[in-house]
Amino acid sequence: MKWETVIGLEVHTQLATRSKIFSGSSTAFGAAPNTQASAVDIALPGVLPVLNKGAVECAIKFGLAIGATLNRVNVFDRKNYFYPDLPKGYQISQLAKPIVEGGALKIVVPSTDSGQSEDKVVHLTRAHLEEDAGKSLHEDFHGMTGIDLNRAGTPLLEIVSEPEMRSSAEAVAYARALHTLVTWIGICDGNMQEGSFRVDANVSVRPVGQAEFGTRREIKNLNSFKFLQQAIDYEVHWQIETLEDGGRIEQATVLFDPDTGETRMMRSKEDAHDYRYFPDPDLLPVKLDEPWIEAVRAALPELPAAMQARFQNDYGVSVYDATVLTGSRALADYFEGVARACGQGKLAANWVMGELSAALNKAELDIAQSPVSATQLGTLIARIQDGTLSGKLAKQVFEGLWEGAGEVDAIIEARGLKQMSDTGELEKIVDEVLAANPKSVEEFRAGKEKAFNALVGQVMKASRGKANPAQVNELLKARLQ
């Protein structure tokens, strides 16, 4: 039987506010336990929540960025359950009237076989504001668990997709696109190690052609794209195998173990969940007025999708290149800086995605930390364009820039990397090479094209790479005619 995979993602993004969603505690990561847990965060008797405007604004930004409906009146509900990292015994969330509904995200799925990428639109169900829980620390405190409530009350936007993804590759492409977007518009720092962007994947399989969905299992808390891919691949494999063996899939929540690469059922006995949602009486309905929404809209940066289209138009880069170059706002801004400085979009894309990316990867640096500025790289490309540098020389100049040896022209000057423009000097070298390689000359004249290339190589070598290859070709041809 042929099986089809169905995946929907729920992504918890921690919003990049200074203070928590319902209290004035700091949201900074990494503080000593419970030092950022206020009376409200630890749910002392009598305390009350007051909503952070910054968190609401983040949700508005997101809603606008994905073309969703912003519910002008939205409501906070209580989700009731007991857990030691949930101090109130309920989580303040949004159920019936979330702030954001609908919207869509364009993703580009790299194809494994053809190298051709594929466009797809994933629709979103909703995005709602809620508060994060604290952390349970399981290292041994005499057989006890330690509870740190610093994270409790950190604002989250839970972004729920429709079950429209059909492979782990699509799920990863969606998660990446979402990650790009939320960091792009500045509502999330995107730091997956610190838990700022956590993915739950709802995975089911069904026979190809079957209309109804299979029973899904939810893989909780995936904190890297690699784990997302591995977890889904394992889960899909497991579900298909189970079904083909005549088994049934029970709806369940599972955890992914990166060490074994397997998913497993959560051990905590979850009684049939009955969260007893009801509107939080401590919070009033939230109203979004038009002037506010319009002000947020006006302040939004150009979004990745719009920028991709513009890069293709203005700089003639491919769909794929445009997608890569808009992987983050910093990268996109960098590329555009290079392209503007040199006026050569395609070449700029090649350098940014090639030489620069490789160097950054090797040094484990972020684009924002690049030792070579966009203007410097642009100037470098301009020097290739005006014939000052060959591609090979340019790489040497790039190395100089990377080492901080100065500006482009200064490096060319100091290291003598200028392409040879003096024809007389080059003619002299060519003559010397021809004289020294009679055998090659003879072979060429006998019709061996390869011998010509060998001669070019000799000339380039003798010029220590500074000769203009096109000019060398020309001169050699003239001499050998």
Partner: protein, 485 residues
């Protein structure tokens, strides 16, 4: 204390006829004498009280006194009070020293009013007789065999027994007004949102409201001036211009239209109470008021609606009492889950558990629409009845409770019988309207009878005016129980 009106005490303090310390000491002495009988206080801390009184004396000496600086007050043990045991009448918080002050406490501190201690109450404010307190029942000062009402029973009893000149209370379904009626004092539940709920341990958040309890309406007006005010820490606190609630106390009642809801004078009302209320109506007419019959047709549904909504909110509000961060934790348990279940089974009393279970049930899967949503819809119908009524009257008048105080133990085995005590008080909570109770007589057993006024939103000054004018021509509020030892 010959004249214990707050205005009189303030005048004596201002004239240096008495110091705040002396005044506080007099009340502390009376508490020491009477509390073993009445059990109105859970916590008394003379050192703290006297230190606060000394600070008030310093303010007075420096000429920085406000209208009530130096006048002591007792606080319901539902208000978190920094450094004070704050129990909410529960074993669950038997050891909870609050690390912060409720907004109400802050305001009284800022006004320079020393705290006489924390008053007894029904556990988590759930009860109408004060018998659900973990710290034992409060006795009615008029007859210690009878209940003082609840949940602010300790507050009402301490004021009635003159152990404090004034007290704070809270009212979710009648918890200020019903004990005020049963103890023969004046108590006011303000419009929802006028007094901050921050630091007041939540029972039912959409209904809870704090208010003053004292012998007279004038006292309540002065206290309301201290208690009310916008608080950015409470999202439901209303940002309104500050009012002086004493401003219209002395206005005549000529032309006042008093609405008499026919449903409040129907079956179930004790004859003596009915007679006393009718006499009070006649008194108001003499003062120039006219009466108009009104109908609050849906108010008969107030109890069913309340016993869905309040337990639903309470079941969630009380989830934080889990033995993890403060309060009671069961001594023995086998696992985390076992710790939760035992802590909550042992820490909460029977009535609280009952309401938590009702609340969990009405919110649970499959029942939400039939119970919770239906109750919220009827809540609107009840509020709409009031809106309609206030088109034809300025204030609504009726009995506060269907009867006078009942004997300890008389209703404690029958929750429904107990709940019916709040028949007339609950509608104002559901609508969010201000309500007050004032004494209007005694029954044959010598137990006080309370009269209820319900006003339109933000009409506290008008209600206090009506009550004050009534109290100028009657002396029910001045009477105090005699023979207390």
């Amino acid at each position: 204390m010959s004249d214990a009106r707050l205005s009189a005490l303030a005048a004596q303090l201002a004239a240096r006829q008495v110091s705040s310390r002396e005044l506080a000491q007099q009340y502390l002495d009376r508490i020491a004498t009477l509390n073993p009988t009445i059990n109105a206080f859970i916590t008394v801390d003379a050192d703290k009280t006297l230190a606060e009184a000394a600070a008030a004396d310093a303010l007075i000496a420096a000429g920085n006194a406000g209208p009530l600086t130096g006048v002591p007050i007792a606080h319901k043990d539902i208000f978190c009070t920094d450094g004070w045991l704050t129990t909410c009448g529960s074993k669950m918080l038997h050891n909870f020293i609050a690390p912060y002050d409720a907004h109400v406490i802050q305001r009284f501190k800022a006004a320079g009013m020393p705290s006489l201690g924390k008053t007894n109450m029904d556990e988590f404010a759930m009860g109408s007789s004060n018998e659900t307190s973990h710290f034992g029942p409060v006795k009615n000062p008029w007859n210690p065999a009878y209940v003082p009402g609840g949940s602010s029973g300790g507050a009402a009893a301490c004021v009635a027994a003159r152990m404090a000149p004034a007290a704070t209370g809270t009212d979710t379904g009648g918890s200020i007004r019903q004990p005020a009626a049963l103890c023969g004092i004046t108590g006011l539940k303000p419009t929802y949102g006028l007094v901050s709920r921050y630091g007041m341990i939540a029972f039912a958040s959409s209904l809870d409201q704090a208010g003053p309890m004292a012998p007279s309406a004038e006292d309540c007006a002065l206290l309301l001036n201290v208690m009310t005010g916008f608080d950015p820490k409470d999202s439901t606190s209303l940002d309104r211009e500050k009012e002086d609630y004493t401003r219209s106390l002395d206005q005549p009642l000529t032309g006042l239209r008093v609405g008499l809801p026919k449903e409040f004078f129907a079956e179930g009302l004790n004859n003596e109470v009915a007679a006393a209320v009718e006499t009070a109506v006649a008194e108001l007419k003499k003062l120039g008021a006219t009466t108009v019959e009104i109908s609050l047709a849906n108010s008969k549904l107030a109890i069913p609606v309340y016993y869905v909504l309040a337990p639903a909110e309470a079941s969630s509000n009380l989830s934080r009492f889990d033995g993890v961060r403060y309060g009671y934790r069961a001594p023995d348990y086998a696992s985390l889950d076992d710790m939760y279940c035992k802590t909550r089974a042992q820490g909460f009393g029977a009535e609280v558990k009952r309401r938590i279970l009702i609340g969990a049930y009405v919110l649970s899967h499959g029942y939400y629409d039939a119970y919770y949503l239906q109750a919220q819809k009827i809540r609107r119908l009840i509020a709409d009845d009031f809106n309609e009524a206030f088109k034809t009257c300025d204030v609504i008048l009726g009995p506060t409770a269907p009867g006078t105080a009942f004997k300890l133990g008389e209703k404690s085995d029958d929750p429904v019988e107990m709940y019916l005590n709040d028949l007339y008080t609950i509608p104002a909570n559901l609508a969010g309207l201000p309500g007050m109770s004032l004494p209007c007589g005694f029954d044959a057993k010598g137990l006080p009878i309370g009269l209820q006024l319900v006003g339109d939103y933000f009409s506290e000054a008008k209600m206090l005016n009506v009550a004050h004018q009534y109290q100028r021509v009657t002396d029910w509020h001045i009477r105090a129980p005699e023979g207390l030892k």
